[in-house]
């Protein structure tokens, strides 16, 4: 039974991707298709950040190690959706016109912080493997704590782009906040 867990989660994690492909193909994206793709992939990036961050607390709460096996795959889906999100913005929204993009990245704080979050994801994606884990030893853990920073950046990215105080960005911020608070408590217990 257990051997089916990982492939199932892998397949489930791809569903948001297939949904957007379906919508593009069948013209189901509504009046502002580019925004729809951007929002969809952005939201799923945040959802996968939350899922990734939830694995360690779940392990501690349930005393089951199985959760940790999913963590890396979920983390890679964060990178996957974040990259599509970024490519939509660069490639479809601004059709690779670098001038307005550079302008946005350096002058608009929500884009600056969103882009920073994506850059920080790169070392995590590169060092994902077991091999790297062994090679980097305790540094691996340090590097992968970057996900905490990425999560905060992601939440701020969403809050800052909203016109006023909206419900959804706040919900993500609260969930991420709670998941990060868990870490603080565990540190204390462990010491």
């Amino acid at each position: 039974m257990k051997k089916y867990y990982k492939p199932s989660i892998f397949f489930l994690s791809l569903i948001p991707f297939f949904v957007i492909i379906y919508k593009i193909y069948f013209n189901q994206l509504g009046p502002e298709p580019v925004k729809e793709i951007t929002h969809h992939t952005g939201e799923w990036t945040l959802i996968f950040i939350c899922l990734t961050l939830a694995m360690t607390p779940l392990k501690k709460l349930t005393n089951l190690n199985i959760w940790i096996q999913f963590r890396r795959m979920l983390g890679l889906f964060v990178f996957f959706y974040a990259t599509i999100h970024l490519l939509t913005y660069v490639g479809i929204d601004y059709i690779f016109k670098w001038e307005p993009i550079f302008d946005d990245v350096f002058k608009k704080k929500y884009i600056y912080i969103g882009f920073s979050a994506w850059l920080l994801l790169i070392p995590l994606a590169i060092t994902k493997s077991q091999k790297m884990m062994k090679l980097l030893k305790h540094n691996w853990k340090k590097i992968h704590r970057l996900i905490y920073v990425i999560a905060i950046f992601g939440a701020l990215h969403y809050i800052w782009l909203s016109k006023t105080i909206f419900f959804k960005p706040l919900i993500f911020a609260v969930i991420i906040f709670v998941l990060l608070i868990f870490r603080l408590n565990f540190r204390k217990f462990n010491n």
Partner: protein, 301 residues
């Protein structure tokens, strides 16, 4: 719940042809000349002046009284009651009046006014409104010498408007204009679109529209027009004074503090269509730029 079926709507092709028909008759020339004038614009190609579809205009709305998602106003406004409806005009006037919607529709002739809408979020539409100039409505009252600004107040009815149960903005929604802006012929009292009654999600029964300002300036479901001496504070100014100024003229050179205003997406274009450049005063500079002579538009954003 009565929903407007797409099939009930005049197909846009016929609708567009109707305009050629009127033109070919040589009738209504004055109204066409006036209303399409800002559209006959050498900068914008015909493609960019194509009317946005009825479906997009009526299902993609910012109208937080009915919810913050773009589809919410369509979904949640269909049972909104717009009859009876009265509008009060008071403040710095000789004699305040109350005028019913029926009387407004009888007194003032609504003409077709094709105007561009540019949302502060960076998207745009071309909308065939039905309406007349606000200065006609204001001619019903005599202004005092203290009437320097106009404040618009939208309806407050949280029972019918679910969005008003949340403090997203300060309710009722308030907007304002300087008196010369309010008297400008392009400032339109809107009573309909696509030759039909104004749908609830677009601000029925009566809204205003200033095509050279960001969309949020154009208050919907108006119940009160107040002439005032001091510059009124709009709901958006109250929510974030650093980001939303009183004037809020469309200006590609003055960014929203958090995002660029240089370009816009045209609603209804396909997914790979590029953004288009935003025009100063949304392309209505010839008509309205003189209102702002000598003003620093970066400071008075």
């Amino acid at each position: 719940m009565k929903k407007i079926k797409y099939s009930e709507v005049t197909p846009e092709k016929i609708y567009n042809n109707r305009r050629y028909f009127i033109k070919s008759l040589g009738l209504g020339v004055s109204s066409i000349a006036m209303t399409t004038l800002p559209l006959i614009n050498d900068v914008k190609s015909d493609e960019e002046n194509k009317l946005t579809s009825y479906k997009d205009i009526t299902t993609y709305n910012n109208y937080y009284e009915f919810g913050t998602a773009k589809g919410d106003p369509y979904k949640h406004s269909q049972n909104f009651k717009t009859n009876p409806w009265n509008i009060v005009i008071d403040g710095e006037v000789e004699k305040p009046i109350q005028i019913s919607m029926d009387e407004i529709l009888e007194t003032f002739v609504s003409e077709e006014r094709i105007q561009r809408l540019r949302c502060v979020e960076g998207w745009s539409m071309v909308i065939p409104w039905m309406g007349f100039s606000l200065n006609q409505l204001l001619s019903k009252v005599t202004l005092t010498s203290k009437a320097k600004f106009v404040e618009f107040e939208s309806v407050y009815d949280p029972e019918q408007m679910r969005g008003q149960k949340y403090p997203i903005l300060q309710w009722p929604y308030r907007e304002g204009l300087r008196i010369d802006e309010a008297m400008h012929p392009l400032t339109t009292v809107v009573t309909g679109l696509y030759g039909k009654k104004l749908p609830n999600q677009n601000g029925a029964p009566l809204r205003i529209f200033m095509p050279w300002k960001y969309g949020f300036k154009s208050a919907k479901a108006i119940v009160k027009i107040k002439l005032v001496e001091k510059m009124p504070t709009s709901s958006w100014m109250r929510a974030s004074p650093r980001e939303y100024g009183f004037y809020s003229n469309v200006n590609p050179n003055v960014d929203h503090p958090r995002w660029s205003q240089a370009t816009e997406r045209v609603i209804g274009n396909d997914i790979f269509a590029p953004r288009v450049k935003t025009l100063m005063f949304n392309g209505y500079g010839n008509e309205v730029a003189s209102l702002y002579t000598g003003m620093d538009l970066k400071k008075y954003f």
